[in-house]
């Protein structure tokens, strides 16, 4: 397992985003994480097709029954929407 350290020397939890390629809040979230130098994985769900799309939508639903975007996983925390303060808090920044 890769362990990232944050700016304060603490351990950075893994970050995963479920996003849409067209969504302004999703773009802002990616830009915000980039500006913090935080590594993350993301999936643009609107670009998926077939079974992969169905499977990923089910995955998003588990974390966020509204299936809205971005759905952000930071360690065990689930954040729905681009909420800067919550993201910072979950990252320990």
């Amino acid at each position: 397992m890769v362990i990232y350290k944050n700016f304060k020397g603490g351990f950075m939890p893994p970050v995963k985003l479920y996003t849409l390629s067209t969504c302004s809040h999703c773009k802002n979230t990616k830009q915000f994480l980039n500006s913090l130098g935080v590594a993350y994985d993301y999936i643009d769900v609107d670009l998926l097709q077939g079974q992969e799309r169905t499977d990923i939508i089910e995955e998003v639903k588990k974390y966020n029954p509204n299936t809205s975007f971005p759905t952000i996983l930071i360690g065990n925390r689930i954040i729905v929407g681009f909420k800067e303060n919550e993201i910072r808090g979950a990252l320990g920044l």
């Binding site: 849409l20 067209t22 969504c23 302004s24 809040h25 999703c26 773009k27 769900v45 609107d46 169905t54 939508i57 029954p65 509204n66 299936t67 809205s68 975007f69 729905v80 929407g81 681009f82 909420k83 800067e84």
Partner: protein, 110 residues
């Protein structure tokens, strides 16, 4: 239709109804380009901030301007995407509160 033409068309149609484009022109450009992209993809301008099903009937409530815009602008001063806002919202310095998803889960086609 290009982004500028769409901008001009919608501005003329929506401002008299009290719906103004976000003063952040870059964000508006991004969103209008996304609407044009969705028009190419699906045949209609589905909300760029929501996952389209590709079935016009099922997506009817999220075709821009979506069925939730009126309530969202009334309550939060902005639609879900921050494309359309009230005059007051544009005149207030941010950060503005996040507009939560109003679309009920029962309307989700997936």
């Amino acid at each position: 239709m290009n982004e500028q033409e769409l901008y001009d068309l919608l501005k003329k149609a929506q401002e008299p109804k009290g719906y103004f484009f976000n003063k952040d022109r870059e964000r508006v450009t991004d969103l209008l380009q996304a609407l044009l992209l969705n028009k190419d993809r699906y045949g209609y301008m589905c909300c760029p901030c929501r996952l389209a099903s590709g079935d016009r009937k099922l997506d009817q409530d999220i075709i821009c301007p979506c069925a939730y815009r009126t309530q969202d602008v009334e309550e939060f001063g902005s639609c879900y995407c921050n494309l359309y806002v009230s005059k007051a919202w544009n005149e207030t310095e941010g950060p503005h509160p996040y507009v939560p998803e109003r679309r009920p889960q029962t309307r989700l086609p997936y």
